[in-house]
Structure formats: structure tokens, C-alpha cells
Symmetry: D2
Subunit: 264 residues, 4 copies
Amino acid sequence: MNDTDRRLRVVVWGENRHEQAEPHVAEIYPDGMHNAIRSAIEEHLGERASVSTALLDDPEHGLTEERLAETDVLTWWGHAAHGEVSDEVVERVHRHVLEGMGLVVLHSGHWSKIFQKLMGTTCTLRWRSENDRELVWTVDPTHPIAQGVPHPIEIPQQEMYGEQFDIPKPDEIIFISSFTGGEVFRSGITFRRGNGKIFYFSPGDQDFPVYHHKDVRRVIANGVAWVASDRPARALPTLLRYESGDFFNGGGYQGAMHNRGDAE
Amino acid sequence: MNDTDRRLRVVVWGENRHEQAEPHVAEIYPDGMHNAIRSAIEEHLGERASVSTALLDDPEHGLTEERLAETDVLTWWGHAAHGEVSDEVVERVHRHVLEGMGLVVLHSGHWSKIFQKLMGTTCTLRWRSENDRELVWTVDPTHPIAQGVPHPIEIPQQEMYGEQFDIPKPDEIIFISSFTGGEVFRSGITFRRGNGKIFYFSPGDQDFPVYHHKDVRRVIANGVAWVASDRPARALPTLLRYESGDFFNGGGYQGAMHNRGDAE
Amino acid sequence: MNDTDRRLRVVVWGENRHEQAEPHVAEIYPDGMHNAIRSAIEEHLGERASVSTALLDDPEHGLTEERLAETDVLTWWGHAAHGEVSDEVVERVHRHVLEGMGLVVLHSGHWSKIFQKLMGTTCTLRWRSENDRELVWTVDPTHPIAQGVPHPIEIPQQEMYGEQFDIPKPDEIIFISSFTGGEVFRSGITFRRGNGKIFYFSPGDQDFPVYHHKDVRRVIANGVAWVASDRPARALPTLLRYESGDFFNGGGYQGAMHNRGDAE
Amino acid sequence: MNDTDRRLRVVVWGENRHEQAEPHVAEIYPDGMHNAIRSAIEEHLGERASVSTALLDDPEHGLTEERLAETDVLTWWGHAAHGEVSDEVVERVHRHVLEGMGLVVLHSGHWSKIFQKLMGTTCTLRWRSENDRELVWTVDPTHPIAQGVPHPIEIPQQEMYGEQFDIPKPDEIIFISSFTGGEVFRSGITFRRGNGKIFYFSPGDQDFPVYHHKDVRRVIANGVAWVASDRPARALPTLLRYESGDFFNGGGYQGAMHNRGDAE
């Protein structure tokens, strides 16, 4: 029930370090992973979305207040340089998510500052980078994000991410993956935080051409469409006092020592 | 399935400011709210628990590394001085919860740094301190925390806490409250974070004698028993590499640029 | 992500007994409650939906195999005559829901055979028909069904439905209501069953003009849009055998005594 | 918080057909699978439980009203003869679960009448009986049922059960399994229905010695302990009318045409 007359404004955030430092990554993703992700969204959402990119090395990582205010959905891929993301930008992105901006966290973004801050946990997992095959099984066949892909999705080469994945219980588990080694992982999951929606999707890696896989590309585009807010405006949940019988006009909080209305 | 031969070590943390600054609070809670809460736990768990208190004005707020390491369950009541709790202690408590320490967050503790950090949201709500009656309805009648109390619990005088309560979707909603003014609130809820269990329970206030209410006292004791870990030892979830076929001997993470096993 | 080029085919099922037997109901709903509900959906979904009605006293209650096969969403209102709904039709509707037909269950439909069969519980509640005011609070502000209505929705006169509502834990709790008497109720909830989605919404009654309330009408239309399937085709989950390495071509089950593939 | 002075009364229900009809099954389970399951519970719960068995071919399948009234926890294993279980007994067991009797459903019991009735879905899955290895991974490390077993549990030979498992969203997912073929399955899950708790656990099969596996035995015993009710008495949720201001004395329902209190 989004307005059909306004395009979804999507920003694909990329760390863009592996592509610069490692030739084998640059070979797989000559335009950077961010542009592979961007093209996946454009391919599937077409005229419904307007997609741009932002990079770690851009001023303020490309995520100024002004830009976030005009962003409906942000996707996040980081890995080698989580620590270089400034706390100020993380706070800013966090606030925008709580206000209603959609967020899609991809693969190694599980260990980003923004995902950890939204989850409240370590977001650690078990891991191995070999040539495991990943199978992505749908366990919530009614979910919009699961539409248009086979059951299972087969990814010939992929890094292994396994349980225990230290996250809060997801609102929805859409996909569960297995790997050649026998490990399993909750690989497609959703969370609501504040007025915002979050989709985490683990398939995708710098060492393997996973962002060129047609089903992975479809899921990412589905996720972008799903996390977009249906709400009319961005708003941060705020603590307000409401008098009895007045449900709509909250007043400002006066501080803990002025708690009682009858005392003021 | 806890060992029955070891007593639960419970620390009741109290801010203890209203009791010092406001005579009407001191009158209701002459020994401080923390001691009212302590006695509720002792009353119901008896020999099963060993309960002590810790206060904001204690060195390190009474929550040193050594003490937390010997604490099975921590309860948290704060209100006027959330901002005075040091970030270092918050980090420490957070880590212990993820390692498996149980946490019971009470009433205005919803806005504490530790609860916000665990939730990842603002934890704001709508609010009014008048003489509302609160009714606490059980919606999960099978839950251990709901045992031994009437349906509903009637609290004659209480502060109003109402929705939108900006929290992640709880793992379990045990109680939902209504207030004289017609507001509703998810007043008894659980969360797992890391290897730890959390129970938030909103009834309880400095301005009203809620911690002397027999059913509220029972629920708090039930909550303490429930958040206690069944695990044999405290452990922080940690990111480790596991070779194919070896499920039990994880190796240390070598950094993002040494991702591939075959490259090392 | 439904096709925008096909209209949603909605059937509003009505018991239509109170309207015939009780003048005070006929006065509130001169065209029957089913037509009030139908007009609510048409008002909000407009060209997106094609809405018809079916009644208990129609042959096969208006729910033949052919009609259900061409129905995307069914809404259900029953009360006085749950027992008159034939088990055969209940089985048929149940199968269509599992295959992917959306279902919106309204108010006293909580005690219908079809809702009980889908839930597996008694679906009982506490109840009182007086002139309670109902307040409907949103607890999932990101949900599409919650869009376009105030927080709270105020319903001046309404029957009271209160907890314990004996249902499985809902997938999502969107609305929680309070009543003048202080009772609370999980009044807007969702469930997935098989490949189908279900929305239960309690506001609405034969004795009060609730189906003329503008916010209630909006929620019902939102619910109809949300339960509509995103899947390309109707399919019943079926038990099949899959050989190792073949993920897509399941074979028929041969019976329990022919369990082992290697024995055949 | 069960009484420690009363032993848990457990009934292990067994179909006992494969053991009679198939020599290779009788060889693995010379005393029947039901006795293997019984001994697992006795081994781990010891004096805490009093365990007996009931069989399909007993009068009323061994599940008379009197016996169920004195049963705290029922475990269910069936496969070849689901259809021979009488509907009357299924109704009876269903009612007792809603009243508070704990239920542990094992392996092929997923397709039993009682599980389908409680779930409201087909409970189908994908399947293959070869010599797959099953790995059972813990995804809810705080859950009492997950205590005392390795992560993962390794089962050398097992039937494959795979997703789509057509069940409602579980209240808790404790275990997720993978199989040699790459399939995944939500293999340890809980549900509340009415006042009762349910644990479904898939590892276990007539063709393989899974019920002799030490970790599987531990999980079953953990499950039995967990589903046992904490409530003081068995009670079926019942629809009652409550007058305003009286929260505790519900009156009988008078029928749909006597809805309004003011009319009587």
C-alpha cells in the first residue's frame, strides 16, 4: 500500500575495500560489490525504485543527515572495515531506522556496528571460507520476500555461516540454509525496531560470485521492497505524558523528579 | 532443572535516590525500594535464593566484575539517575547477560542504559502519573512466571504506562495491563539475548506502594527463578572458524583479509 | 507484489440471521452486516478488488468448490448459527486456506468451526455485551494493516471481549484493545497456516453500528489486502519423497510399511 | 516450580506395529520403541517421574478418560497406523492437552491425528529413508530442553525429514537439523495450546537405533520435564460472561440470541 506514484529511494552502502585490495575480488566484481547489488535491485524493481550508492570512503561515509532523510531503504555490506565506520554515523543510521527507514543487512554486515546496535547482541556465528555449497530453504512460504525463487536456492560456492548465530529471536525466519559441511544457518530473517523494518540475508560474499546469482539478486530486491515503510512519515518513538481522556496530545517529559501530575 | 543443591545468587540493584530525596517515597519504602524487592524474592524463593543489594552510590555501582561473575540473577530498578550509571558498568552488565546472567528489569528501568542497549530501541512509552488502577491480565497461562497470581492482578493505585512501547517484539508476552484511562501496556514480557534470559515487568513505582502488593511480589520472584540460567557455565558467544567435519574445535578469527582457509 | 493487472476476488461470507430475526439489528444494518462489510472493502480497495457476498442459507452456504477456487480472500462473520455450517464446507474452506486463500475472521467468527479448526484450540474468551467503550491500540506500528487509523481507534459502544483468549500464540499482534470495564483483548492478530494467511479482527458486532465506524472499515480493508497471497498458484502442502541430490522432483508416498527406499 | 514432592506421571504411547511386523525393527527394539522411550525418560528423570506405557491395541488405545486424568505428560509415537486411532480418543487427548496435560510428539507422530488437530495444518514434510547422517543444531541455547547435549548432536543414520514442514510458526525453535543430502528441518519445536504445552522432536525412527542414542534420549527426557504443567489444576478454557467490575465470577453463556445483558 505504498504510494505507487513515488519511487522508492534506495541507497546501497558498500565498504569497497576488498575490491580495491584483492585482485581476485576485483575480478569477480569489477564495478564493486555495491554496483552488483545496485543492479540487482534495479533489475527487479525497475521503475519502482531509484537506486544510488554510498561508500565508506565518501565524506561521512556518504550518509549525511540530509541524504538519510531522503532515503527509504538502506542496504549495508561491510566486512574488513567495520571499525572504521564512525560512531556518529552509526547513531544517525540507527535513529533513521527507528524513525522508519528500511534496512537490508547483507552477509558479513552481521558484524557491523549498526546491526549489533540494533540487535543488542554480539551477532557472532561459526564460519569457514571454503568451497561449501549453500542450499537456501524457504520455511515461510507465504512471505513476500520468498516469492519468485526455487525451494531450495542452490549456491554452488559460498562461505559457511553456521549456528549459533547470536541474535535475538527473529520476528520471522524466512530462509534456513545448509552447507556441504552439514552446518545450518538462519539465513533470511526479519526484525522490526522502532518504526523501521530490517531484513538480514546472509548469502553473498566477496570471494564468490554470489551477488551475480539470479535467485540471490531476486531475494535482495524482494527484501528492499518489503522493508520499505508503509507509514506516511518518519517519526522517532518519543516518551510523552498523556492526561486522562486525551489520547492524542502528549506533553513533554519534565524529568524524573517531576513525575506526578498532581504535584505540578 | 537447576541444581537443587546450590542457591540462586541474586543481586537487587537499586538507584535509591527517590527514597533519599522525597519524603513521600521514604514513607512508603522506609528501607528503600531495593529492600522491598529483596524481601519479595526472599519471601517466595526462601532457601532457594541468596539475595543481596547493590546501589548506584556504591563503588562501581556495586557491580564489579568479581561480583557479577558470582551473580546468577540481577534485578534492575532505576529512574531519576539513569544518566549517572557509568557506561563501563553498563558494558560489563551487558556482557554478563550475554554470557548467561539472568536479568529482571523493573518498571522505570525500561529507560535504563542497560535495557536500551539490550533492546536496540528507544524503549519509550506513553505515561501519566495519576491514581490510575492497573489491571494485569495473563495472556500466557502456561508460563511459569504467571503461576500463583489471580487473573487479573488488581493494583489500586499505579502510574500509567501505555503503548506504543518501543521495544522489539518480545519472545513471550505473559501479561498485558489496562489502566483506568483506557490505555494498555505489554507489562510482563521476556527476551533472550546471547545466552541470557530477560524478564521485564512494569508494575512497581516509587510513588505508590506497589512493591508491597502481594501479587506483584510473587511475579517478581517468579521472574527471578525463570531468568536463572540452566546452562552449566557462563560463556560469551564468540566468532570462530570450524574446519569441515570438525564441529567442536573452533579456531580464532584471523581478521577479514585472511578470510579464506585455502589462502593460509 | 501482487499483479496490479488482476483484481482481488473477495467473498464476504455472512450468517445473516440476526438481521432477519432481530429488528434492532436490522435497523442498524438494513442491508445486512455482510453488505456493510462489503462496502467497507469496496470503499478502500476500489478498483483493486471485486467483492461479492455469500450467505449461510445459500446452497452449500455459497461456498462451492468452484467459487472458492476463484476466491483470493474470504471474510467470515458468524455468530448464532455456527453449528449450522456443514462440516463438508468447513473442510473445503480449510483446504483452500492451506492452499493459499486469504481469510479474514471477524468478531464472533472466533467461535466458528473454521477458525477453531485452523487454530486447534477452543477459541473461547471472556465476554459481556453492555455499552463498553472499546479502545484499539496499535502495538505493531510498522504493519500494513495498522496504516491509516488513529492510535487508538475509539469505538463508543461495543461488546466486551476479554482475555484469556484461547488461541495459539499469534504470528503478529497488531492491535490490543481495552474496554470500559478494564478488560484487555488481543483484537487484531495474524496467523499463517499452510500457504495461507489469516487475519482475525474482533471489533464489530450485530448490536452496535461498529461496521459503520470509519476506522474499523479501514482496518478490514487493510486486512483483506494483506491476507491476499503473493504466491503464483494455489497448492496444498503434500508429503513427498525426494531422492538424494534431487531437490525438485518429489515422488508419492507409498505407505508406512514401504518406508525405506533401499527396500524397494 | 513443580511440587518436588509429587512424581511426574508420564504415559509413553506407542503404536507397536513395526516392531511386530518387521523383524529388522524388532531386532533394533526388542522391547518395542515404547520401552526404549520409557527407559530414556526413567534414565534421566529417575525418581522425579513415574513412567508407564500405553499401546494402540490396548482397549481404548490405553487412553481412557480416567487414565488421562491422572497423566501429567503423554508422549506419542505412531506411524503405520495413524488411521486406526479412534476419533473419540483423539478428541479426548485433545481436550486433555487444552486442559493442561503436556504432550511430546515424536518423529512420525507429526502425521498423527492428534498433532494435526492441534496444529490445524497438514503437518506434511519432505522425506527420504536412506542412511543420511542427521546433525541437530541448537538455535535456542537458553532453553531447558537444549541442556546437556552437544552442539551439534550427531546421529549417524537417520531418515531425512525436510522443509517445507507444514506447521504453524512454532512458539520456540530449539533445534534445526541438517541431513547428508543437504535438507534442513525444524526438528525441535514447542507450541502452547490452551493451557497445555507441546514439544515436537523429530529424531527417532523405527529403522534406525535412534532411540538408543544418548543425546536423543536426553532431549526426550528434557522435553517431558518441560511440557509438564506448572498450573495447580487441569481446566478447559471456557467462554463465560463477566459483569462489569466483577473479574472473577463468570456466568454461563446463554446462547447467541441472548447476547445482551440489558435484555435479560
